[in-house]
């Protein structure tokens, strides 16, 4: 009960600090957006715009063929200019413009021009080939029917149904593409997904570490000593602080997850597993923050050390650059950081892992939290024993 009381007061006083509101609520969202954009070009689904006359049966078929490609996400525009602007500004990778009356014109042998626009750099050529193939599949019966009209003199209305019926039997020659090596990003991962996960880990831990300032402030105001003068042990006091900081860090983590899901459509793949990872990381972060707060440091020094430690541990743990891209030595060091275990856990979940697959990550993170909290208790007892 006392633990919860201390934790609740810890949360309450931080929430009533105007500056904290920005740090805890607004800042993480800003960072999700900024870092999400930076990660957008890597491994995400490619957005292809579609505009023009999309009400025709043949365009339905073509877009259906394109939708079958898991790497593509179609974005429909009512206005061609709007789509062109989106391509120019990089909001989508390329766009397709369907002209009107495609089937009627092909039936009488008139040429049909399907527009394709892309930025000078990026995935334009690859997308053009993909679109070309989707269009070609649908043109087969038209070409066959026109062949019958031009060479055999059979009417289009008679030859087209037959050609359509036989189209499925036509064997298309395609180039099989196979990637070798392990991809850093699993198929289907959204443009914000990877960035949001690392952003989540980085900022949750930073928040937890800088939360140590609240503890320093309490000590400087004599509140720690006053609480310890009651029938409340130092261990209980620390457990209350950890509970409060855990609540804040977990709330921030959940907040980022919900917003990233709602605004950017981040696919957390295994939401339950992700929530458990966020909980375990919150506990480890709270323990680390309270250990930092238990040292006999001034508030300014605590903020400086907290931010620096948060960034360094984040970098070492793969919360800035994926661990797979880091040297072997750093990957080994990452195993001693909460961020390292959290990032590996998120990676496993994004690759389709279950909660059981990240059980070791959860256990290690929770264990780190308990050990750090115990160390904070010993440290605070020593700090309080020294003259103020």
């Amino acid at each position: 009960m006392k633990t919860l009381s201390i934790g609740w007061v810890y949360v309450l006083r931080i929430l009533r600090e105007p500056a904290s509101l920005f740090f805890f609520f607004v800042f993480p969202v800003v960072m999700v957006f900024i870092i999400g954009i930076q990660f957008g070009g890597q491994g995400g689904r490619v957005e292809l715009g579609v505009s023009g006359d999309t009400s025709q049966a043949i365009t339905d078929q073509i877009t259906e063929n394109l939708t079958g490609n898991q790497a593509l996400e179609l974005v429909f525009y009512e206005d061609d200019d709007e789509m062109l602007t989106a391509v120019e500004r990089g909001h989508i990778s390329a766009g397709v413009v369907f002209p009107p009356q495609m089937a009627a014109r092909m039936a009488v042998g008139q040429p049909v021009l399907i527009g394709f626009v892309s930025a000078p750099t990026g995935l334009g050529p690859q997308l053009q080939a993909t679109v070309q193939q989707a269009v070609t599949e649908e043109l087969i019966p038209y070409r066959a029917a026109r062949f019958a009209v031009d060479i055999l003199g059979v009417g289009f209305q008679q030859s087209f149904p037959l050609a359509s019926a036989l189209a499925d039997q036509v064997i298309l020659t395609t180039v099989a593409v196979e990637s070798v090596g392990e991809s850093l990003f699993p198929p289907g991962l959204g443009r914000f997904d990877g960035g949001a996960a690392s952003n989540l880990v980085l900022f949750m831990f930073l928040t937890a570490l800088t939360g140590a300032t609240a503890m320093v402030s309490d000590r400087e105001m004599g509140l720690d000593t006053r609480i310890v003068s009651t029938p409340t042990s130092v261990a209980r006091l620390i457990s209350g602080y950890v509970a409060g900081q855990f609540g804040i860090t977990f709330f921030q983590g959940a907040y980022i997850m919900v917003l990233s899901l709602a605004i950017f459509g981040v696919d957390w793949t295994n939401l339950g597993g992700s929530v458990l990872l966020v909980m375990a990381l919150s506990l480890a972060g709270a323990g680390a923050g309270m250990l930092l707060g238990s040292f006999r440091l001034a508030e300014g020094a605590t903020i400086g050390i907290g931010v620096t430690a948060g960034l360094v541990l984040g970098a070492l743990g793969g919360a800035m650059v994926p661990q797979e891209l880091l040297p072997d030595t750093v990957q080994t060091v990452a195993k001693f950081t909460p961020q390292g275990w959290a990032m590996l856990g998120f990676r496993d979940l994004q690759w389709g892992g279950s909660v059981l697959d990240v059980a070791d990550n959860l256990a290690v993170l929770a264990g780190m939290g308990v050990v750090l909290a115990a160390a904070a208790s010993v440290s605070l007892r020593r700090t309080l024993a020294r003259p103020s």
């Binding site: 007061v9 006083r13 009533r16 105001m221 000593t225 006053r226 029938p231 020294r386």
Partner: protein
């Protein structure tokens, strides 16, 4: 004339506080060197000493927030250490620096510290209301304490120490930086608490507070208890004397000669308004003084007794003023 505080009648119940040979060092500095004293139920004990004398260190060890290097603190018959949390429920410690949560209201602060003392439910709510009334903060109960004046914060600081109705209230310089009205209110509260049987350990720089409130006084300097007793005992200990100022007319020279021959009168002189005597203890001597004056043909129209204060005692014992 200062009214001496009467020591409470001997109480058959065990002592509330027993401090025995307390020691504390910080590195090379021996801050507290064998301090011992005891406080009975309903007794107000003043701990006097200049800055750096070891008062706060002693008090923090008694409050159980600082571990002693040696010696023993017993509260209500139970030995206290920093880890024996249950004994602490007998103590209400009011630290020198106001320790409140700025962003919490007065009521929230009281409720929180009440929970830390183990109170809950209706008992807690009742005590919070009572203390808000006692500290005259009921009408500001919902305001955040950051908006409070220094005096209000001090009152709330004391109120927190009273929440759980402790057997021993430790007040460490409770009136520092407080306006006159709040100070008077605080002193009244302390007197009220001792009258209800609560033992109080009171430290202050203000001699007049100790003289007004405390039954017994301990003087601490350089970490050592250099003297202890009631105010009268301390005065006698250092040989300080009462001064009796008499407004009189008549044969003053004859009167002064005869008074100087009385036992207990050390000096008798003539002043512009009458006479001035230096005596051991004025109260029992005054009837004989007036009888002698009448026989000497001196007509006395007024008398004022000035007893030596603790400041003089402190100066005598330490060679320096309390606030040096």
């Amino acid at each position: 004339m200062n009214t001496p505080v009467t020591a409470p009648a001997p109480d058959p119940s065990p002592l509330v506080l027993q401090v025995e040979d307390l020691h504390k060092s910080y590195g090379e500095i021996h801050a507290v060197k064998g301090v011992s004293f005891q406080i009975a139920p309903g007794e107000n004990y003043g701990l006097l000493g200049p800055n750096g004398a070891g008062k706060t260190t002693t008090i923090q060890m008694i409050a159980g927030v600082l571990a002693a290097d040696g010696g023993r603190v017993t509260v209500c018959g139970k030995e206290l250490t920093t880890s024996t949390t249950s004994v602490k429920s007998h103590i209400g410690w009011v630290p020198q620096e106001v320790a409140l949560y700025d962003r919490l209201s007065a009521r929230e602060n009281l409720a929180f510290f009440g929970r830390m003392q183990g109170l809950s439910g209706k008992t807690l709510a009742k005590r919070v209301d009572e203390v808000l009334g006692l500290t005259a903060l009921a009408d500001r109960a919902g305001d955040k304490t950051v908006k409070f004046s220094g005096g209000m914060r001090r009152r709330l600081n004391i109120g927190i120490g009273l929440l759980h109705q402790p057997d021993l209230l430790i007040l460490d310089e409770p009136t520092v930086g407080v306006d006159v009205q709040s100070r008077a209110s605080i002193l009244d509260q302390v007197a009220e608490m001792t009258s209800r049987g609560m033992a109080v350990l009171y430290t202050t720089h203000y001699i007049e507070e100790v003289e007004r409130l405390c039954h017994r006084v301990g003087i601490i300097d350089h970490g050592t208890m250099i003297a202890e007793g009631t105010r009268a005992e301390l005065v006698r200990m250092v040989g300080e004397r009462d001064r009796v100022l008499i407004t009189a007319d008549g044969n003053l020279s004859e009167g002064a000669d005869r008074l100087s021959e009385l036992d207990g009168v050390h000096q008798a002189g003539i002043t512009a308004e009458g006479m001035e005597l230096l005596v051991d203890d004025a109260a029992p001597l005054l009837p004989r003084v007036f009888e002698t004056l009448t026989r000497s043909g001196v007509a006395a129209s007024g008398v004022r007794v000035e007893e030596p204060d603790l400041e003089a005692v402190f100066l005598h014992l330490t060679g320096r003023a309390l606030r040096d």
